[in-house]
Each structure stands twice: as C-alpha cells, then as structure tokens.
Subunit: 342 residues, 4 copies
C-alpha cells in the first residue's frame, strides 16, 4: 500500500531498474497522482544517458508525459482536488516571480524544475506534481493517447507559433517522426499549408494523410530545398525542424522564403553552421523554442480535445522500458510510445 513501482536510473551507463519505491508524500503545493499512462520521449533517453551539459542527480525516475488521478493533495493546494485527472510535464514548475514568469515566458525560468529530470517523473505507478503547474486534463479524453500531447504536442504547437507565420502560409515540417507527425496536424489545424520532408516514404504518406500538401523525400530528391522553393512558389514562410540530423538544419534554412523563420525544437548536443550571407541578405530568422507554458499546454490540449490531433503511438509496459530505449535510440519506433501503468 505504501510502495509503488517505478523505472529508476541508477547510472548513466547501465539499464534502468524497475523496482519498488516508497510512495512520496506531497509537499504543501503538491499533489500525489496515481499514474495511468505515460508517454516516453527522446528527452528521457538523454536524461537516462546523462548526455546533456547539466545532468540529473542519480538516482531518479524519468518521464514527463504522465497522466493519472489525483489521490492526495498538500495543505496549500487550491487548484486541484482528489479525483481530478492531471498530467506532469517537462515544465514541472517554475519560480513564478522572475522576469520570465512574470511575462508569460515561464519556459525560460532559470529556476524551473523539470519533470523526470530534476524531480522524479512519470515512469512509475505514482508521481508527484506541482498543483500550480500540472496540466489539467479535460474530461472525456482517451488517457492512453493524451501523453504525447503533454510534451511532443505542446512543443511543436509552440514551435509553430514562434515561426510567426499566418494561416494560409506555408510551413515546412522537417522530420515526420514522433514530433513531426504531430506537428503536421497542428499546422493544418492552425490553417497553415504544410510541406513535409523526411527520408522515409511511409512517413511522408502519413504526413499526406494528415493534410500535408507537398512532400519531399530528402534521400531521393537531388536538391530538396530547390524542390521546395519551386513547389511553394518561392519557399516556405516558416519551418519547424524536429529532425536532429546534420543536414536538416541548413536544408530548412535554404527552403525559406525571404523574410522567413526557422524554429528549432530538437536538442541535439551539437553546433550547426549558419550561412551569414544568406541570413542577412534574405532577412532570415532562426529561433529556438523549448516546450510550452501552461497556457500553451491548455491550448495544445484544446486542439486535441476537439479531435484535431491524432498521435500515432504504441502502448507498452514498464518492464519493457530498456527495450523501448534501445529501439528509440536506433530510430526503430514509429510515432510515440506510451507506457500503460494501470
């Protein structure tokens, strides 16, 4: 009764261990959640491998796409009640008082706490959330599918917003994997015209089914950027790079219409060369974007609840977590993975 199961990272080089942990008690503003499902994100691999500049403190439980039911609340909690359905998120909490929190940019808060990274996450039967930041899941939603919205969904939704494009304009979605296939759907729901680029024809077919008007296979087309410039009458107004390979970034920049914006949401631990001459002469903008605020999350969920977003995902179980990580590392998974923790 007082213990839970969770997948724990004890070392950045070994497998995760699925083990029993004591169920944590919620702090004053926290809530304890009985997790039902949790999405698995590429960021969880980076966390488990400790390959980003700032590493998580060992041991820890990854996962920032969990959803479940509130079973206990701290004594200062007013926003949630026992029985509510909530999620955790990468932006687990923020300070609420810095210049970023005060101006609608809590995603840039230097004191933010990240779910499954600087605080235990959703790869377990129970998790804590900060009641002030936990996404509230609307009623009548299929909980097995909502996890991918909590990270992949909000990330591409916000990334599309900051391309500064308008309905009717072209956006390029670069990479139609776990993030990109959701991005196509948000872009269409946002009234944009979509170009999809990938190296896999089956993914481009998926993009077409979700409404992409132009698809380009970067592996078989001689000059993908030139192809895009031609088929969009001068280039895309915005681009969202979800792909992490070295070609994707300069390809997206070269596909832009003059005055266009590339938005980057992937986190490869690398540098990319930026051609200054073209950037200046064509008035281009390159912009990074990281997940989304609580408001972005509520909006991203609203699109989902209205039936406009259908993530492709596979349901797996907690004991498979190491296999899942291996497959994700190899790029062998289509769409997203969701753990069933019921």
């Amino acid at each position: 009764m007082n213990s839970m199961n969770a997948a724990v990272v004890h070392s950045f080089t070994d497998d995760l261990v699925v083990e029993e942990l004591p169920i944590p008690a919620p702090g004053p503003f926290e809530a304890l959640v009985k997790v039902q499902f949790s999405g698995v994100c590429h960021t969880d691999l980076h966390a488990a491998h400790g390959d980003w500049p700032v590493k998580p403190t060992l041991p820890f439980v990854p996962g920032h796409e969990g959803v479940g039911t509130v079973v206990e609340i701290g004594d200062q909690v007013t926003r949630l009640a026992v029985g509510d359905t909530v999620g955790n998120a990468w932006l687990w909490s923020a300070c609420g008082e810095c210049e970023y929190c005060q101006t609608g940019w809590e995603t840039l808060c230097p004191d933010q706490v990240n779910g499954g990274y600087s605080v235990n996450g959703s790869f377990g039967t129970h998790m804590l959330v900060d009641s002030r930041y936990a996404p509230i899941i609307p009623e009548h939603v299929d909980l097995s599918a909502v996890g991918p919205i909590l990270c992949a969904g909000v990330t591409v939704y916000k990334g599309l917003k900051v391309t500064d494009t308008q309905p009717g304009q072209w956006v390029l979605i670069s990479g139609i994997g776990g993030l990109g296939h959701i991005a196509v759907q948000y872009a269409v729901a946002m009234g944009r015209r979509v170009v999809a680029i990938d190296v896999d024809d089956s993914k481009l077919e998926l993009a077409e089914q979700h409404g992409a008007e132009v698809t380009v296979n970067a592996a078989t087309v001689d000059n993908p950027a030139a192809e895009i410039l031609e088929r969009t009458g001068g280039g895309v107004h915005g681009a969202l790079v979800t792909a992490v390979n070295a070609h994707a970034f300069p390809q997206a920049v070269a596909s832009l219409r003059r005055g266009g914006t590339v938005s980057l949401v992937g986190l490869p631990p690398e540098e990319f060369p930026l051609d200054i001459f073209t950037t200046v002469l064509f008035g281009l903008t390159i912009r990074g974007s990281i997940v989304g605020t609580r408001k972005d999350m509520a909006e991203a969920l609203d699109f989902y609840v209205r039936g406009l977003i259908h993530p492709t995902y596979t349901v797996r179980t907690l004991p498979e977590i190491n296999d899942i990580f291996t497959e994700m590392g190899k790029g062998d998974i289509n769409g997203r993975v969701v753990l069933d923790l019921n």
Copy 2:
C-alpha cells in the same frame, strides 16, 4: 560640359581608374544628380574585389552613399524637381509589385537594383538615381556628413529595430567601427541602454562618449560574455553584430538574456557555428537584416536631422580612392570616409 569624372572598376584585381565618362541621360523615372559628397562603405570594397557570390558587371562605378543636387529629370518623374537635394542608396530601386514590395519589405525584393553594384554609383561627379527610391535629404543639413547615414546609419537603425527590444532594455553593439559607433548613437536615441564591445580601448571610449553605459574590451577580459551577463543583470535583450571577425557572433549569442535576439548586419562571406542546445533552451533568436527601406531611411535621416547622430568621418578626394580602399582593408580607418566631389 558633357563629361564627368568617376572612379571606375575595370577589373576585380586591379586598382580603380579615375577617368572621364559621358554624363548619362536620365530614363523616364530617373534623375541626374550633381554629386557633392559620397560616403565610402566596406561594401564598395566587396564590389570592387568581386568577392561576393553575385558579382557586378564590369566596368562600373561604385558608391551608394552619395548626396547632391538634381540637375535633370526624366519625363515621368513627379517626386523630384531640379534643385532638390537627394542621395543614392544601396536599395537604388525595387520592383514595387512583388510580395515584399507590397508589404513594406522592399529590401527583400528579388528584383532590386543596388547602387554602385548593379547600376553605377556615387564615386563620380554625376550619378543617376531612381526618382521613386532616392532618399530626399531634408534642408539645412551638412551634406558632408549625411553620406554615412544613407548606408551605415539606416543599416544599424533597421538592425536595431529588428532586435525587437524596447526602450530601457540592454542592447549590445559588437564592434565600434564605422557601423558600430553610429549604432551606439541610434540605440541611445531609441532609449536603449548600450553595452559596447571591441578590442580597441579608444573605440570603447568613443562609445562611452556617445552614451554606452557598459564597455568591454574583448581582447583583455577573460570571458567577455560572462562579464556582460553580470554587468547587465542577466544579459542583453538584444545584440547588433557589426563586427565581422569569427569570435563576434558566438560571443554576441552568449551575451544574450534568455529570449533575446541577435541581429546581424555585416556580410562576411562565411559560416558561423550556432549552438543549437543553447538556442533552443534559452529561446534565442538570430536574425539577418539588410540595409533599410525608404521609410527606414526617412526615419534614420530624421534622427540625424534632429541632431542625435554624429558620425565620425574623414573627408578625402576621389583620386585617393585606391589608398582609401587599401586603408579600409587593413582596418586603418576610424569611423567613415566621405569623398568631396565638389
């Protein structure tokens, strides 16, 4: 009477030749201008050396910072009259009908004509201008000083605008040379708080005289970006990179406050490495900006006319043009150079 003197580029490897040319007759929308002064810009060197991807057609007369008096107009000209004082500019004309011209972004027009590059420029006693695009010089202005506004001034003014900063926020001016020392003045006039960075103390002193509150010598400070982060309470909100050396770009990016914007206005024919991780995690924006529109020009001139901008410049004569180019190439010139063509 029918001939003029001009400095002509006959080859990308030889010196310019100051020679007599026939005075050209203005086309229907053009005006003939008796040039009094012309600024010399680093772009003129690139033109004369043919070191950009698209080269000028030989032979040609460089120069896009000229000012003088209209002496003859074409038969369709309505905006100018004989006796008016006008300038030429890098944006010598644009098509007026493309999506960029229609939306206030004529600087991105694919069919633009560039002064002293794709049409003869102001390094001569006479020049043609397009009456629809030539900057009109307000009355009672010292014509020897206005040339630098026509290119350096409008370029940094527009570059500052697209940093998306607000009065009271910090902007970094990187490089206090011919462009940068004018940028400091525009930034101050625009209500921004200025950080200046250079490797030359005398230039930093000049920046201070023009109102920079923080100056950093990148050659003598261990970690210039760290210094800037500390002295601005978290980093600059925007940065304008006028320097063209390889360190300046990543240094400016590293000096940004989260959510900040770097604006690039120099045109080094190179690539710079962009750190994706920081760009994404800190929500940074990198943006190219090229000269300015007619409206930007009128605004930049207005700041100048109101006595808020004082370019540092040296007056020289046309026969010295090859010496001037040599000195500019070595970085031996402080501020701007203006040719006296009277």
Copy 3:
C-alpha cells in the same frame, strides 16, 4: 464596337440609368477589361446616394467587384497582358510613395483612387483598371463567384487578421449577412472558433453550416453578451462587427474576453458610444479596418481558390440594378448579388 453599356449615376436622388458610353482608352499604366461579372456591394448604394462625407463626382459608374478579360493595355503596362483575367477593387490604385504605401498599408494612402467611386467601376461591359493594382484572378476559377471575394472577402479577411487572434481562439462574427457569412468561412479556415450572432435564425443556420460552433439570436436571447461570455468560457478573443445597427457595436464590446479586440469593417455614417470604464479596466481594443491591400487580396483569393470559401450569391443582370439597390436597402437580399455582364 466603340461603345459599351453601363449603369450610370447621374444624380444622388434618382435611379441609375443603363446607357451607352464610349469605351475608354487605357492610360499608360492602365488596362481595358471586358467585364464578365461584377458583384454589387452596399458601398455602391452609399456611392449612388452620395451619403458619405466625401461624395463621388457625377456622373459615374459604380462597381468594385468586377472580373473580366484584359483586351487592351497601356504602353507602360508590364504586369498584365491581353487575355489575362483580372478584377477591379475598391483600392483601384494608390500613390506607391507615401508612408503608408511604403509600409504595406496602401489601404490608408490619402491619394488612393477608389473603384466605382473616384473612377468609373464595373457596372458595365467594359472597365479600366490600374495594371499595378488590379487583382489577378487565378486560373480555373468560377468567375461568377469570385466578385464577392474582391470586396466582401478581402474586407472580412483583413478585418479578422487585425483582431490579433490566434488559431484556436474564439471570434465573434456579428451580423451574418453579405459580409458576415463569408467572415464565418474565413475565420474557420484561419483556425478560429466561431460565434455567430444575428437576429435571423436562417442566417444562424447558415453560419452553423459554415462551421460556427456557437450561434446566438440577439432578438430572442435576453442578454446576448452574457450568453456569449458563458458559452465561450469567458468571452471571445476577437470580434468582427459587420452589422450596422446601433446595438451590434456595444454588444460586441461586451462579448469580449479581457484583452480582446473588436474589429470594425462596416461604414455606418454614425457614432457609437464607447464605455471607457470597461475599455480601460478590461484592456480592450477597438480597431477600424478598411478593405485590404493587394497582398491581402492575393491571400483572400488563395483561400477561395483552395475551395475554403463559398459565398452565397444571386446572379442578376444590369437592367435590374435599381431593383437590386432597392432590395439591398431594405435588407431583402440574402448573401451577395452578382451582375452577369456577358
């Protein structure tokens, strides 16, 4: 061969006269167009009645929603060729050089020429257009239906843009007549969620068919604004007022979410009372919007060409023009009216 038929306004109080006129010769930048269809707009009534502060010069031919084929061009024309399909528009031409024309706001040009008002319009078998401003009609378009896009379409499209709303947010369309029923369709295509308000249930049904999620009959609901606040969870983010009755404006303001924007596109020659207390305390914005630029027009046409906009219209003939005006004045016409001039 040298004469055309047109409906001419000879007096602001008498009927229009359908009569023979000489076919005009195009000026240097003009094109002569054989008109096939022309929409009839409420503005044409204001023109014919001379009830706006600045009146047209008599006699004149109204009409600014014409489409047809170029049959002759002036000697300076480069953008059009004989055989092209083009339209005329309210923004028949602008000066190209003022601060508004230079910044993408040609709709505010003080020297603009207005089709069917300060220059003869499209209520005839032939019309002149300015080749630099005439909307180019894409191929494979049903010409009988495109007229309403040229004024009603672009007007509501631009009006929706300046509500500063985002996809997923609520917009109120006030009045589901000739403008409003098209506005519902643009709003949906732009990803907005639509509330429609009118006093006629059949019009609200039409709005629902076009995708409005919430409809309110202002004649039968006690407090329409309160109803809207409740059903949208706090009010609409933006509102477009196409209705011209005295209640519509304060009703739209009262339906706004805090921070929301009302966009006005109708031109009733009246004042409306604005409640300052609410405007200030709730941070509201009230904004006027007039037709759209050439770029807005191209965008509005693009939505239409992609099959997203289906105006309701009735085809009539030129001799019926006085009857049509009478019916429009009484509000007896559903949707738009299009004259067949073939």
Copy 4:
C-alpha cells in the same frame, strides 16, 4: 506599540477619519510595512466616494502608492526580508493561475486584489503587502518622490507602450496634470517626440521643460486637432489620454495619423462617442490600459532610478487628507500629492 494611525473611509458621503487601528498581522505570504510616504491618487477619491460600479467594502483605508520598510514577514515569504524597502500598488495581488496571470497580463486578472480598495492601503503608518506582488524599491532612491511612480508612473508608462509607437514617432499627451506631466517624461525617455495638449499654459510650459516639442492650448486654439495634424506632418502616431473631460477623447482620435492608436488610462465613469466612419477609413485603434504588471513596474522604476523621471509633487500630512481630496476634486493641485507618514 500595537496600534497604528490611518485615514479611514467609514461612509462614501462623509469625510475620512484619521484614527487608531490595531496593527495587522501578516498572513503567510504577506509582509507588514512601516510606511514612510504614500502618494495620493485620483482613484483614492473614487474609492472614498464609492462612485465606481463595484464599491469597496466599508470601512477601509485608501492608498496604493505607499513606500516603507518591511518590519515583519509571514511564514511563507521568500521574496522579501525584514528591512527591505517596498511599496504597495493598485495591483496588490493577483491569482497567479488564470489565463491572464499566465501570459503576462496579470493586470487583467479577474481575481486581483486592489490596494486601498479591496484591501487596506497606504494612508496609514503601517500596511500589509503581498510579498509576491509588492514592488521592491531600488536602493538610494528618494522615498518621498517614488510614490507617484508606483501608480501614475507605471500607468502612463504602460499606456505609452500599448500605443504601439516606435522611437522617433509622435505621441500626443492629452492633459498635463498629475498623470500627464509624468507621461511627457516617460515618452521622451522612450525616444518618442511629444505633443502636449492642455488648457493651462503653465502646464504646457512644464511639458516643454520636460521635452515636449509641440504644445497646444486647447482653450485658445481654434481647431486643436488640425493644429496637431499640421505641426506633426500628418498627425501623431499614438496618443495617451490622461484628461477626463468630454472633449479630450474625440480630440485625441482626430489628432491621430492614419493607422494610429489612442491609449486610454483614465477612468471617467462615462461613455464617449466614437466616430465609426473615421475609425474604419483611417484604420484607427482605440485601446484601454490599466496600471501595469510587476514587470512594467520594475521597468518604470528603472527609468526613475536612472534619473529620467522627475514627478512634480507636494508633501502633505495625513491629517490634511480631507482637504487634499477637496482640492483634488476641484483640480486645484499641480502634479501629485505625497503624504509624509514618518
């Protein structure tokens, strides 16, 4: 020791009573402040007279421009410490969780608490503040002068921001009283060119001393708007209406350049007629603005600390409060009034 002095409103029709009250104990997130100075604002009169739609609960202590020293903190307070110098403000606290609080618009929070209105204010020797919202006063500031920044200052600063003007553009400040004379100074510090309008020449002289380039006496000039249009070459780009008389609003609208914005910050309990025809045809924007967020406050204080803002004010004492209110009601006070509570 346990009692304080304060001016208390017991009835909306009687004078305030200066009396002894028990010193309140701070709640978990609150701090107790020994007040040194408090500005007096016109809003305090509205509060004391109960003449706004939602009235304060009697009895209460007005005042929302207080500054003083923290002498005790609640057990959840982390942002403040005993000895800190802080202020109270109209935006005494907000919910922190609604869509407005999440997006940098806490001034629109429906659950906000207002200082000296829905919670006791600064017209006393002690006051409570919410530690999460209280403005932190920078060091080395003259505390007798800072009060006016906390309401008048931040209000006009934010109001100027939402005019959407740029440095170098014209803004009209309508009314050079307690708000307006500070607005002139912020506008100049923000790089705007200022037109001042009032009916009192001495106030216009003050505006000139603070940098206004154009001044217009609305009482002596025939057509003030025409005068402004002419002297600014076409009208102001933005206007801030601080005046509350019936002429000021339409006058400001009529003084706008096409595409311009009027920002309203006063709260007269009235309606003003808005001319729809001009609003639409000239693309005008009318926008309400209420005080400012914590971030706006920090920025407004920063301008003040840098020596750019010098409010005119008179120092008075608490027992004079009823006289002060009488004088303010008659418009007999120049600048602002500050109570010395030491």
